[in-house]
Amino acid sequence: MNVQTEKILKYLPYRLSENIGDYLTKYPGVSESVTEIRLHASAPASITVNGVNIIDICGVYRCTPDEIHSTLIKLCEDSVHTYENTIKEGYVTLDGGYRIGVCGSANTVDEKVNGIYNISSLSIRIPHIVVGCSRGLLPLILSNGKIRSALIYSPPGVGKTTLIRDLALTLSSKKSPLRVSVVDSRREICIGDAFRDCIVDVLTSYPKAKAIEIATRTMSPQLIICDEIGTYDEAAAILSAQSGGVPLIATAHADCLSALKRRPNIGLLTDNDVFDICIGLRRDAGGCGFTFDAEELK
């Protein structure tokens, strides 16, 4: 069984964990392709394999609200308060790059989420290191030996993070490695020991805008990699960093280029020629590799 998947099973309700274990033993090839495990209060749990959601995991298992809560406590290592700020943002990131989406009922004060109660769903995203998956991307972002700024887009769950993780690994660890600054706000990109042979500066848990500013100002990077941009602050910081001439590879959620450009803050960046190229990301038919839809912006 895949080590990353096996590790997370220990935290799940016992019977669900057993069901998933049995399922992965029954279909041995599937284990490497499990991207998500989703728990719902009083509704069926599911696993996502190559984008397909499976409910019948050696039987249908419905978690009780208590099981959901105790799973979150286990995942937070008995320290829910430590993750309070990110839980309010809807997620928890654990060592090893696991991201757990958390939703329930929000307690709001002045439009700000003050707390979450009655947690009803957990979406556990299992990180994958797919060595070489960015090979097809390199010819698109390299031009005359220089790296061009690129915006990679796709709907959630296609593999943007996996792709830029491999890109950061590839560019910062080959024979003539580049100084890469990775803005890893959610601790998802630089996981485990994968980056120990790389010259990567990792800015973890900073607000993205601040991280981009710091990386540009203090780390003299040759490339900045940033996952999931979208807010106005991030767009403003990127604009400012771009005037410093540092190429940027960023990702954003969108299912097509027009939808991407319609997002106001992304539109601000594309209108200001921050990116040389926009690259749409799709899974191959078999679900094992990526297909890139590139569109030159300049």
């Binding site: 220990k10 105790s70 286990k74 290592e77 008995d78 320290s79 829910v80 308060h81 430590t82 839980i87």
Partner: protein
Amino acid sequence: MKYIGAVMIFFTCTLIGTYAADRKKRALDECRAFLDMMIYVKNQIGYFSAPTKEIYRAYENNILEDIGFLPAIRSCGNDEVYIDAFVSAFDSIEPKLSVSPDIKRLIRTFGSEIGKSMQPQQMKTFDFCIDNMNEREKELKTQTQKDVKLCRVLGISAGAAAVILII
């Protein structure tokens, strides 16, 4: 021979009195030690949102160390799935504790809330438990002072009475 026996009986009674007094004092010491830890945990969570594992690893207290609570709680850090360290460590040493069942219940309530919810909810439970523990500690302190005196006086008096009877 009679005098030696009388002296021995006197010392034995005095020692029994002192031992009983120490046991009373031990309950107060344990109560204070847990109260200190509860305040420490509350501050670490309230001000720093520190992970519980780190809180327990950094905390030092001779009494809790001697009764095996801190070693037990730290050993939970090696568990595959880390949960309920405080309560399981507390349960493992509970029979050895000298504090009253009432105080034990407060400590357990406090422990079972650590890390289980967001900070404001935890703080409410912590404040409730700490306030109650403070009251218990004050009561226990007054009671212990009386009991210690009583135990010592009884020990010495019993010893003296026995000596007089023998002589």
